[in-house]
Amino acid sequence: MSLTSRWEDFKTGMRPRLSEWRFMLKRMRQSNLAMAGLIIILCFIGIACLAPVLAPPPASNRGDPWIIPQDQTYLKMIGPNVPTPPTVQHVFGTTYYQYDIYYGCIWGTITAFRVGLTVVGISLIAGVIIGTIAAFYGGVIDEILMRFTDIILAFPGLVLSMAIVLAFPEAIPLNLSELFLGISAFFVLIFLGLKRDRTGAIWVAGFSVILVFSVLTYLYHPLILALNIGKLDKVLIALTLVSWPSYARLIRGEVLRVKNEDFVEASKASGSSDFRTITRHILPNSIYPVFIVATLDIGSVILTAAALAFIGIGSPPYFPDWGQIVSNSESVITNGVAIVHNFYTFFIPGMFIAMFVVGWNLLGDALRDVLDPMLRRR
């Protein structure tokens, strides 16, 4: 088949999907709340992109924007323990250690996007893969994988991520040999167990090569990388580990539902490989709820990260992150009387967090409203 004809086929195949997306966009434009959510997120994206312009990192930090500047004059005059209210110089005021709140909030936007998108992105991919495998192949694999997710889901998210972050070592000596050993063994077993056809044999052969290679290096000369994990990264890893099971469960439910539809059987009957059936037929029909949950989850992940920062688990005090800014002033805020006076230290970063999450929630809600009748239209 020539390339142009393949492209034509692809376009024809995508046409109904495109028209559905166009319908979706039209519906979204009709909803006021959805538009509001979109605008909010766009504003935040704007702030994130314009951060170097809106809050240029001071020269004292040697050009590294990821350190919030401390007001040295205040430090000398008042000392570190007294946050200062907003002035012209510090538009939002300063926190406990005289960190500039304005700077922190602007650069914190980037951090927020980073946290949200990374955690949700990775856990989504991992969860979808695992959930689809579990649902599609069923049987023992399904049981084992679901017990796994059950165990993780048995813990409240905040508590488990807390425990993981605390337990995480500062630097992981990443034994590449072990890693490859484990992954290749896993896939060899899976494909040995599942696919007893030619494609399966190819996969088994390929992974067996990697397996042999890793066994050899493990025995004789292990490949070790030393990774230093920053505090924030620990939080990211912990949150990812905690979030993926819900996606796995969600997609598993949807795939189970779609699996029994006639078009899946038709696809299998016409000779598609499992991978093809999954990617072309099952996934497009089952993935919509996952997107809705993902959108809502971005907000929820930010809230959890902020909660963890408030407890004391998170980035270092100088790092621009909304939750961290509030956590800096924790001793002052929870003291009682001083809370009214130092209102701005938690209110402003809190409002940033709230608006961010509201934006994503509105988008997620709009998505749900739009996709639901579409799902029902089927």
Partner: protein
Amino acid sequence: MLVFVLVGVTILVFIVTMLFPIDTRALLYVHGNIHDVPKAIADAIVKYNLKAPFYVQYWGWLSQLLHGNLGWSITSNQMVITSIATKWPYTFEIVLFAAPLIIFIGIYLGVQSAIHRNGPIDQVSRLLSIVGWSLPSFFVGLLLLAVFAGVLHWFPYGGSMTMSWTTFMGNPKNHFVHYTGVDLIDGLLNGRPALTLDVIWHCVLPVITVVTIDVALLIRVMRSSMLETMSKPYITTARAKGLSNKVVIYKHARRNALIPVATLSGMLVAGLLTGLIITETVFGFGGLGQQVVRAIENLDIPFIMAYTVLTALLFVIANLIVDIMYAYIDPRIRLD
């Protein structure tokens, strides 16, 4: 199946504890009141063979866990069990008020929103639910503190009761008997209703904080579930029978709509515990949540691990209760 999950939970927790250095781990095995901490650690290492391989240690840990020894908490300088036993009533006080409020307000507003779709209640509820769920818990708590305690002085700044009562209870001359350990109830049982009122007065703001955040989700789920149920065919049959609108909604629709909400409410009540970590810190309530935060500051591993296991256990129990309730509401499930 449940057993598997519980075993898996213990294995996971054990793996996490194994990541800590041996000294910290030894604290998990300490039994009884100790005054000389390093010596106790050394003793524990020897006694429980903490340098042995992985699986041997697991058995040792599990067995002494099942004997009820959760270790020694360096934050409170007590056995972890004692620490938990003294702190849980404060958490319980908040949960006691918050849980029914969340469930009943959530269900009621959800149903009303669905019935009067796009009406005033619906718009306000939806707004509240989006906003309520988006606010970080410390934000709501601090805001309420600032406004109602700081500016208006209607409520106290925090703590679970005024200091005078604490000294009152401690004074042996007053013959205050801690019947249940929960100050709210003990106040009544000792004939001191003023104490109960004081506790309630201190509980108001934390409860409002927790309720605002959780009820948002419940309203949303209840509303969508109710809307979906109202378009089901058997509602048409009910109307065709000549039943009044009220009966159709409250008898036929609501019961079916509650089915997916039941799971969620179980999770919400269990999830109250996690929300309380932040809220208790903000309000200085002195319960389990605040203790965990202090434990984190001090890297008090035994307490943190115990708390993790405890919350997981409560989650599992809540799920079990929800499953039982499920079978009660939905006869289709009963045969299983």
